[in-house]
Amino acid sequence: MSGFDKVVRSYEEAMKGLSDGMTVIAGGFGLCGIPEGLIAEIKRMGTKKLTFVSNNCGVDDFGLGILLEDKQIKKMVSSYVGENALFEQQLLSGELEVELTPQGTLAEKMRAAGAGIPAFYTATGYGTPVGEGKEVKEFNGRPYILEEAISGDFAIVRAWKADRYGNCIYRHTAQNFNPMAATAGKITVVEAEEIVDPGELEPSQIHTPGIYVNRVIQGNFEKRIERRVLAK
């Protein structure tokens, strides 16, 4: 099944084809479950004018935040941002654009893109700035707004275990946006903590079937903790 072996040997190969102006869907929530090595590779490549669709934009020196240093990000589509000073600065200077999207709507937009659903109705955001300019329709007497799917030229994903065919499972809450991101990229790249042989993952326990995945690379993660809080 060589045609299904998606393992690539270098980060360069993993992100090959990414170019200026593209849209990238990224998994992760805060610094949890982010594809650290793929983000580092994008920084190394120096690709510019990127749009990132990701719940957050990392912190100053970690996660997507590191792409701010060389002004590689043109636009963020996120639910919560601004955990770092550089972000605020570029936002205020107009170098960076932000499209704030409710967290659940963001997750559903990614899923919809992967699932061939161009748009869906949700009550989330109706009557708020998020609903402005969007189509409204009532169902059972309640108003809903129409939200459109969001897809990417690339999707970058962190998995716990991935097999060579691209089947993935995620660990604990590092799952978060990763499964939806995986479905929403024209090219989906998975950075895995461990690459295993096909058959090692129980078929009905696979979170992301390999059909969504184009490339798999063995990662090496720092796994930084954003807010370490301990029991008293």
Binding site: Q103, G104, A107, R111, G127, T173, L230, A231
Partner: protein, 216 residues
């Protein structure tokens, strides 16, 4: 006397029923988990994909892959489930979470809430708040009755950009418990020693005061 943050949280916890699934926002709402009565159990939902959130971890339990919606390290209880963000918000948006408790800048007599954005201050985003207020069956807003300048946060009409419309039915402040219905706030309880006059003075929106208002 106005309630402390912990006292507000204590009062919030009395709203829960055995078997409730609850999402607690950051701040006072999170404190409510500490005051769940011994004879009932609630299960905490964290919108980053965890149902059955447990206490903060010990040093040994800390795991970068196990965090809550506030990005804090956390644990899972026995019987927890973990899922992706779309599933987590399906749960919220679909009305399966029984209670959402969250803070607010303002609430008005129409049940509108403003909690995420103050113009001319840096906007960090709404996170999951808009989904939560659109989806939960019961929402409790916790906040101080007035801001530090004494301005009421219970208004005839919210002035800040909204988080959700026509969704708030219950408010627990440092001074009172109120319900929201028919274009008015309805006072149902007052903090011990707090006068109805003080509550009236600090409630800008229409307030309906019944003959008897018990202390909490």
């Amino acid at each position: 006397m106005a309630l402390t943050r912990d006292q507000i949280a204590m009062r919030v916890a009395r709203e829960f029923k055995d078997g409730d699934y609850v999402n607690l926002g950051i701040g006072i709402p999170t404190l409510a988990a500490n005051y769940v009565p011994d004879n009932i159990a609630v299960m905490l939902q964290s919108e980053n994909g965890l149902l059955g959130m447990g206490p903060y971890p010990t040093e040994e339990e800390v795991d970068a892959d196990m965090i809550n919606a506030g990005k804090e390290t956390v644990t899972a209880i026995t019987g927890a489930s973990i899922f992706n963000s779309a599933e987590s918000f399906a749960m919220i948006r679909g009305g399966h979470v029984d209670f959402t408790v969250l803070g607010a800048f303002e609430v008005d007599v129409h049940g509108n809430i403003a909690s995420w954005m103050i113009p001319n201050k840096l906007v960090k985003g709404m996170g999951g708040a808009m989904d939560l207020v659109a989806g939960a069956k019961n929402i409790i807003v916790t906040m101080t009755h007035a801001d530090k300048h004494g301005n009421s946060k219970l208004l005839a009409n919210c002035t800040l950009p909204l988080t959700g419309v026509n969704c708030i039915t219950r408010i627990i402040t440092d001074l009172a418990v109120l319900s929201v219905a028919d274009g008015a706030f309805h006072l149902t309880e007052r903090a011990p020693g707090v006068s109805i006059e003080e509550i009236q003075a600090k409630t800008a929106g229409k307030l309906i005061v019944p003959d008897h208002v018990p202390e909490m």
